[in-house]
Point group: C2
Chain length 647, copies 2
């Protein structure tokens, strides 16, 4: 039954022929891949993919689609259209409650933040429609605008610069949203935000020492060293009233205790939310009744009630500082967006709805532009408020409207009262919000998982702490990008082997010790997404070293390398340096009588190689779709020409 | 013969069981991959890999190895040890000829370059051991040091700054070489060098207008606009002698004609090589005999003969400009290295020998340090000289020694003569060398192959041309790195399908239109080497859009997506943002009742996911080694629970 030797060889040859046919066919697929699009087409596609959300829906084909499109566009702009039709009285009860709770948290917080931004307190309250000023943006704004003009010297110029910055921040936000550049927000990585927030929280806390101790001459700088030096100097130079400190600390303890109670007993969630307002009212009344402001307790003093006045005339679009103001606007806008979108995303994933980052950016941008025209400074989404709003049981955006009305009423009625609010209370309200910003657990998790991310985190943290807020941001973004570049530069190669029990599965022999290499064939995978100027030389050297090393080591077993298979499946892009490198590698290997085989180049790489006429130099016969095909082809060559094993 | 239905089912189930066993085994390999090395180990390995060339050879195990190691180390430092033993009289004849030819090219070129660097001409000649000053470094040096001190105002301070810069350049070069940071040279990509050289050549040519026309008041700036303005101003303000121009142009034409002849007739290679020296001698004699220097022809004038004086006392390591000088030293050192290594590589690949970039860097660094102490300014390998040396038939480095001796003799004897050398001749010598630096063909090739590389090229070119040399370099490096980052940010995803006629080969369905997708299973490959903060959000959105899109489109065929297979074989590294993204994607898909399956994560990714406890969240059963395994597992689940097709 068993075939004669001759027959067996002929069957084997037939089989080889069949295999070769399959290989050739697959190589043809590879080489005859779709033609590359022209440069212009590629550019247009790339831009339109970025700018237009859904290409197909942009030019609707019929009027019905068109109507639906317009309605969904309007819904996107005015969400009331989508929920307004189903709104019920029962829902209003929830929203009213949530709105009032929110207002009681927001009023003291916002006044505090305005203080942090070196602005008069009413500017914090003007901005309470849905979102409001947050600590980090306030700090950033005051730190950067102070470099242009000192608020103690020229408060009017300072305020107008702040509005101009807000205007630019809004313009940038809206522009980024309209151009669908939402990905810009991702430049601040998770690790960078953790570090930045931690550092900012400490800086913000230190700034509060001014009000808490009642210092008159403070520093404009934000770094730890300057602030602590200013504090110690004031102990020597100024006659400080201990009243400020006692007042601030006792209310801080009160707020923290209510928060602890609220956490233990979920039903009392409103207690920590109204505690700040309660503190402000009680403390203000105390100061007003005891006339403590005449005995060293610092109070707000400046407070102008009434609705937002227009601030169009305060915007400055000329003058020598325009460049700087634009830059600050860009930075503040991006940081505000980052915070808003981080908050939005965490609540979206909690509540299971989808958040369109670009739409959020447009909305926030227009809000800030309008804000800058009506005496509001840069605002953004705040985590603590959104959290309170949710836990207070809000149903729709009506809760925010309720809150806004409450704030407006306070602006009208409480003007007199807020005049006497002690600064120490505002400091304690802000201080009570800070522990949530410092996330040591997350920093530890980052350290465990990714040391490089931890360096980003620490870089942002210490940059903010010891230099300045914007340097901290720059360090974080810089390290993050340096890491991407470093990953590309330090591209590695790995030797692949066939997994036992599989036909065509080749894997890293370090990762899978069971993988076996085929004798005489060195399979090397390039471990980099891009084969470019930064890594092409080192990859060529690594490949040559692997070849020399293998040939040197296994001299005894007479199993030298006769073929090199270069697996390019990971290489997504190649530049001219990379192509030159491939040609050089080919030349170098051929001079050692080792043919270079290329397996699985990607579409973009094939197109580049075609234009560079690289295939002509390497030889079209040496390019295969899979490693398996390449290995089979090499083996059949070895069988056909056994002398090659001796070369 | 055919089995009963029941039997057939049982066989099928058995087969399924076998398949599942294989899958499970492979998944176990995947999950039980080697433990990640500790952070310290990884750091030490990474540093030692960069710093130590061959780890195994560093600590030799026996005395014989040790002896051989020391000898090869000495050979590396003093190559004469390797070729000196086989040197023959016949070889010296060749070397003598090559050395003399080289000297005749180098003397006029070096004096010209020293002039370009705003130094007295002898400084160019002092440095002629093996390599010498080149145009680009001379230009860079003069452009940057002129910003510190104007050579017209304080030539002594200028010269001492140049030596100090040379010292720092040498120190940086040696340090980079010793730390094996040779890859730093790759930061200037091929495209950047083409653009930079082209721009520098034009700038250098424009600088020569000063000598060629005989302008007395020129500009210190290097950009096209300033130089042309200075030239036109001089036409108005100065009484220019046409003699300079006529002299320069006629000898330029002479040099170019000899080059043309040399190219046509390979035997006359020495003609273009000695043409510059011939021109200098003839022109100098003409000026000396006709006393043309008293009739408006500008001559060198300052020339101090003799051997190199020591310049240790001229180095300045304190003073307010130290930081700037260090920076200039770094830039000049890197540019000099880039040029030298580019030259070295092209000749190495031509002649088929291997070039160790790090060793070259150490050698060049020490040479420049010694040079800075002996009145030499930053030197590097020059393409034109190396080419002449090779075509003159040099055998060993002896040809360079011959050249050096010739130069020293000229320094002693020709002092008087060189005093009368007209500046216009030096300009024409430099101008004749420039066309080789402008490589329009290569620029066109870059445009054809890679548009982004072309932008790098044009950026470097126009930066050098319109702003300054260092800005041109910065632009080129900046764009090159921005491109790496952009590639990572614009990471894409592609839908994979099974190739017909293969068992386990899945490919991009755009690249291979023949690939067929499995119904109900969406296979998505992440097209990026790194899954990080910069692209994780966009990848998540792309995956979700693909799922929604497929579900939306194929509603008619009732073939909704039931499983998503995420092929991670391209992802070489992941950071905390990437891991958070995977968890979010999992949560989002599960909420739509679609399990997320991960195929072929790499070793580094697996280790990160293990530390982040990501497997616990995703479920270990949903991770497979190959796409094929993942698809089979999904299919068997679908068979086992047909109701899932209706979910």
């Amino acid at each position: 039954m068993c075939p004669q030797p001759n027959e067996s060889i002929s069957i084997e040859l037939q089989q080889l022929q069949l295999d070769a046919d399959g290989r050739n066919e697959r190589t043809q697929w590879l080489l005859n891949s779709p033609e590359p699009p022209s440069f212009c087409n590629e550019l247009i596609n790339s831009v339109s993919e970025t700018v237009l959300p859904q290409k197909n829906n942009f030019f609707p084909s019929n009027s019905k689609q068109c109507k639906a499109g317009v309605f969904s566009f309007l819904q996107g702009l005015f969400p009331i259209l989508s929920w307004g039709r189903n709104y019920k009285a029962n829902m209003f009860k929830h929203d009213l409650l949530a709105g009032l709770t929110l207002a009681s948290l927001c009023i003291p917080q916002s006044i505090g933040y305005a203080n942090l931004a070196n602005l008069e307190p009413q500017y914090g309250l003007f901005h309470e429609l849905a979102i409001g000023p947050v600590a980090v943006v306030s700090l950033l704004l005051s730190a950067m605008v102070t470099n242009i003009v000192d608020p103690a010297v020229d408060p009017i110029a300072y305020t107008s610069f702040v509005f101009t910055v807000t205007f630019f921040a809004g313009t940038f936000q809206a522009a980024f949203g309209l151009l669908r550049l939402g990905f810009l927000v991702d430049f601040l990585s998770h690790a960078a935000i953790v570090g930045f927030m931690g550092g900012a929280a400490i800086i913000i806390g230190l700034q509060q020492l001014k009000s808490l101790i009642g210092i008159s001459h403070f520093t404009n700088k934000t770094d730890v060293v300057s602030v602590l030096r200013a504090v110690f100097r004031s102990f020597h130079d100024e006659a400080l009233s201990p009243m400020n400190f006692i007042l601030g600390c006792s209310f801080l303890i009160f707020i923290l205790v209510t928060r602890f109670i609220g956490k233990r007993n979920k039903k009392l969630f409103w207690l920590p939310a109204i505690a700040p307002l309660l503190s402000v009212i009680v403390a203000t009344l105390m100061v007003y009744l005891t006339k403590a402001d005449q005995h060293g307790v610092k109070i707000v003093k400046h407070f102008k009630g009434g609705l937002n006045p227009s601030s169009i005339h305060q915007l400055q679009f000329n003058g020598p500082h325009l460049g700087q103001v634009t830059k600050i606007g860009l930075i503040c806008g991006l940081v505000a967006l980052t915070e808003a979108i981080a908050v939005g995303r965490s609540f979206a994933s909690m509540k299971g709805y989808h958040l369109d980052g670009n739409k959020e950016m447009v909305a926030m941008g227009f809000m800030n532009i309008v804000g800058s025209l009506t005496s509001c400074y840069t605002a953004t989404g705040s985590f603590s408020r959104t959290a309170v709003n949710f836990s207070a049981g809000c149903e729709t955006v009506v809760s925010n409207i309720v809150m806004a009305i409450t704030v407006f009423i306070s602006l009208e009625l409480l003007t007199k009262l807020l005049y006497y609010t002690p600064l120490a209370i505002l400091a304690s309200v802000i201080l009570s919000a800070l522990p949530g910003l410092i996330d040591i657990n997350e920093a530890y998790h980052i350290w465990k998982v990714d040391k490089m991310d931890f360096i980003v985190c620490i870089g942002a943290f210490s940059g903010v702490l010891f230099v300045s807020v914007e340097i901290g941001l720059l360090i974080a973004v810089g390290i993050s990008f340096a890491r991407i570049i470093l990953d590309t530069i330090r591209a590695s190669t790995e030797v692949q082997g066939r997994l036992p029990g599989t036909l065509d599965t080749f894997c890293d022999i370090t990762q899978y010790p069971g993988a076996t290499s085929t004798s005489g064939i060195l399979i090397i995978r390039i471990n980099s997404g891009s084969l470019c100027f930064a890594n092409s030389t080192s990859i060529r050297e690594r490949v040559m070293k692997l070849v020399t090393h293998t040939n040197g080591n296994e001299e005894n077993t007479k199993e030298n390398v006769h073929f090199v298979v270069l697996d390019m499946s990971n290489v997504m892009s190649v530049d001219t340096s990379g192509i030159v490198m491939l040609e050089e590698l080919h030349r170098e290997l051929v001079s050692q009588n080792i043919p270079l085989t290329i397996a699985n180049p990607r579409l973009r790489v094939i197109n580049k190689m075609k234009t560079a006429k690289c295939f002509d130099k390497l030889g079209k016969g040496w390019i295969f779709l899979t490693i398996g095909d390449a290995v089979d082809a090499c083996l059949s060559l070895k069988i056909a020409d056994p002398s090659s094993t001796n070369c």
